[in-house]
Symmetry: C2
């Protein structure tokens, strides 16, 4: 137990806007988010970038770097945040001795893969408003799982970042928000969102294009 403690001993604080790591940085440690809110951005050679995910308390970052020993995306704090540094080599060593730790690590990596499949489904098959609905419900659920309100929260990211994540332009996000508000699905004012009708939001996602 003492040794597991040592695994998560080192903390690091980040100011809003600060990079936790950048693509190309060598892998040294994984990061468990203790507090705050972050985004990861996948980058293409030609300069294009896309938000690959939004991350909050309890999420583990840096798994992309294990394959090559270098990070393959950027991680940026969207608000002041605190992370735990987990030396990867030590994590591997310890997980050889602790089967439950080992299995936990595998489950976390697998969960990331499953999450990515969900994003692909969203990007590949959904219309703009379906994407935003799915995004809001996902956020809602994750806040709820952490003990925050499922129906009322502040967005930490800009419309542009939401758009990037959902494969849409910021204007499209803005219009979808306005439309949801008109339809009494949500109340939205700047970064603040209140979900008024989660059930109809959920239905909205199911609408195949006919």
């Amino acid at each position: 137990m003492a040794r597991v403690d040592r695994l998560v001993n080192h903390r690091r604080k980040l100011r809003r806007g600060e990079h936790l790591y950048r693509a190309g940085n060598p892998l040294a440690v994984l990061y468990a988010i203790r507090s705050g809110f972050m985004k990861t951005c996948a980058l293409h050679d030609d300069g294009r970038e896309q938000v690959a995910g939004f991350h909050m308390m309890g999420d583990l970052l840096g798994l992309d770097a294990i394959s090559s020993g270098r990070h393959m995306c950027d991680a940026v704090a969207l608000e002041d945040s605190e992370v735990c540094e987990i030396p990867f080599a030590y994590l591997e060593q310890l997980s050889r001795e602790l089967p439950s730790l080992q299995h936990q690590l595998h489950r976390i990596m697998s969960r990331e893969i499953v999450r990515d499949y969900g994003v692909m489904l969203l990007l590949g098959t959904m219309k703009a408003e379906e994407r935003l609905a799915a995004f809001l419900l996902n956020l809602s659920q994750r806040f709820a799982a952490r003990g925050y309100s499922a129906t009322e929260f502040n967005l930490r990211m800009t419309r542009e970042e939401i758009g990037s994540y959902l494969g849409l332009k910021l204007e499209t996000i803005s219009r979808a928000f306005s439309r949801f508000q008109q339809d009494n699905l949500i109340e939205v004012r700047h970064k603040h969102v209140r979900i008024r009708d989660p059930e109809r939001l959920r239905l909205l996602i199911g609408q195949q294009c006919p």
Copy 2:
């Protein structure tokens, strides 16, 4: 070494069209493809599905199931194929004793995560023809890495499956193929593709929209 051999001892043959596993199946083994060609499909509750990846010799399938103990997607053979069954529990056990095996497993899972980021980038930021160009170059590269021709190969999947993977409709794929052929980038006749100008295909991807 004998024990590593035992790890990959069991084979399974699949006929074209046969499922290797389906979403919901409990995780028992991972699968290493020995020969053939497969697709994995992510599924949404409402029946929508999307091809999450195409897989060939050497690829490892089933990682999505580790997180929950159940498969989260379908895997289907696109041609007669053979796979190796790798009991996951035994793999975990053995990787506790063999650090290099452990690290190899982590790298493979991480590589899948990185691959997924690439697909997100493709789905989120690229236009139809860029997507198809990226797809063809990726296939080409993977064939080359396995000792096959990088410039000439047979597609194992239909236009519809390509479209599903790329977030496009089959008609769009067909038109993009025709256009590439007109522009002398490729020759395509049904499933047979010859890449005539990989360099210009590569350039095509870099074209930001403006």
